[in-house]
């Protein structure tokens, strides 16, 4: 927490105010934040989610722009300045930046490192080129305050409040940008238990957002394509990955196992290209095998979420941050 606040204070474009929402924590969060120089606010009772906590503090914001930042996420010194350039366009309501795990040690952190390097150097830039980044990441995003207030802040009707907010903004005609040079460093889950909690939140959040927004999203061309393919990949590709490939390998030919690594160069090329300027080629190569166990975990969690939400109609509502 102190590190996060310090990274805000040391920005080339520092924020006017730093508000920390102490959502009825039982540790030293408030004391640490106050000692670091932040304005600490505490709701009368726990809000039950990050969205609830952030929306609680929204009426206190007196500036034209407001930034959401997770407590475990530090920023590159010029992150806010680089991200603020997105708002030269008056129609832009939200912007997000690149995310790189702060610690890259365990298999899960390494897998996430590869996943992020791939997504932020390839997918996200293309999405931005078409004017439709899929999500303005909840861990670090900047918003035009009035636009955020118009939609009621962050909603806790789904477990992925960032996706909900991004798709809501699109449906209201606002623009969202991705600024690749604005970099943040969150702490990622370092073991399977924490990763499972995070993936469960994200998977259920995605399915919940599809259920909530599908009619609105259908009218937004490129977003419609991305969401329909994401849904396909979540369900059909997961079934293929977890069941069809092993079955084909056993019943037909072991060469079908090759399908598990067929797209390895497709993933590896953007990862290496973005690791190169960061002088992290060794780290990227060493981390690459960890991407595959994470992909299996992704497939399992996504399939489970789709089954619970769409078939059994048992929505998951408990917000578990993990660490």
């Amino acid at each position: 927490m102190a590190e996060t606040i310090r990274s805000l204070q040391e920005q080339t474009l520092p924020p006017y105010d730093i508000i920390v929402v102490d959502d009825c924590s039982t540790d030293e969060t408030a004391a640490v934040a106050e000692a670091a120089g932040a304005w600490v606010v505490r709701p009368p009772k726990n809000k039950g989610s990050k969205a609830g906590a952030q929306t609680f503090a929204l009426p206190l914001v007196a500036t034209e722009f407001v930034m959401a930042l997770d407590a475990d996420t530090t920023l590159a010194p010029d992150a806010i300045e680089r991200m603020s350039k997105a708002f030269d366009d008056p129609e832009v309501a939200a912007a997000s930046g690149s995310v790189i795990p702060r610690h890259i040690r365990s298999v899960w952190e390494r897998g996430r490192y590869v996943e992020y390097m791939f997504a932020f150097s390839f997918y996200k830039r293309i999405q931005d080129g078409y004017g439709k980044p899929l999500i303005s990441s909840g861990c670090f995003s900047l918003y035009r305050t009035d636009k955020l207030r118009e939609v009621g802040g962050w909603s806790n009707r789904t477990l992925a409040e960032d996706m909900d907010l991004t798709w809501t903004l699109y449906q209201r005609g606002a623009k969202v940008r991705f600024m690749p040079d604005a970099v943040c460093y969150p702490i990622e889950p370092h073991n399977l238990d924490l990763m499972r909690k995070q993936l469960r939140r994200w998977s259920h959040g995605f399915i919940q957002n599809v259920q909530l927004h599908w009619q609105g999203v259908l009218g937004l061309g490129y977003l419609r394509s991305m969401v329909s393919l994401a849904l396909w990949d979540s369900i059909i590709a997961s079934i293929g990955y977890l069941f069809a490939i092993p079955l084909l390998a056993i019943l037909v030919n072991a060469a079908f196992l090759f399908a598990y690594v067929l797209d390895a160069p497709v993933i590896l090329i953007p990862v290496l290209l973005s690791a190169l300027p960061r002088r992290e080629l060794g780290k990227a190569l060493a981390s690459f095998p960890s991407y595959f166990p994470l992909r299996v975990a992704n497939a399992v969690m996504m399939l489970k979420a789709a089954f619970l939400e769409l078939v059994l109609r048992r929505p998951f509502r408990v917000y578990e941050k993990g660490h």
Binding site: F122, R125, Y130, S225, W232, D233
Partner: protein
């Protein structure tokens, strides 16, 4: 963050195609005077990356295929020499079907809304 989606999948194919299609789209924007140097840099970067990714995939497949052929005692390998066309075409066909289904859903919704409006 991503939504925790598994791997490259069909979405991966879609983004590679998106990167390539962005070039003619940007050319049209240039003709209409709505492009910029920054936009061209982004489009060129993404398209070049997509082409390198396709080339890397083909080379990877050829390499694996060569290894499998070498390892097979009597030269009978289950893998073809280069990326087989049929699965690639099948993936593209599925991609088109998914996108068209989404579009059809949108049109159906619009049609239903128009019907309701005329009934009112």
């Amino acid at each position: 963050m991503s939504a925790g989606l598994p791997g490259a999948g069909l979405a991966g194919v879609f983004f590679v195609l998106s990167a390539l299609f962005a070039v003619p789209i940007e050319a049209v924007r240039t003709v209409r005077g709505r492009s910029s140097r920054a936009a061209w840099m982004l489009v060129t970067r993404n398209a070049a990356l997509a082409l390198v990714m396709i080339a890397a995939l083909q080379l990877f497949f050829m390499g694996i295929s060569a290894i499998v052929r070498y390892a097979a005692a009597h030269g009978k390998s289950p893998l073809p020499k280069t990326l087989p066309i049929a699965p690639v075409l099948m993936a593209l066909a599925v991609l088109v079907i998914v996108l068209l289904t989404a579009k059809a859903l949108e049109l159906a919704l619009r049609w239903r809304a128009a019907l309701r409006a005329s009934a009112d």
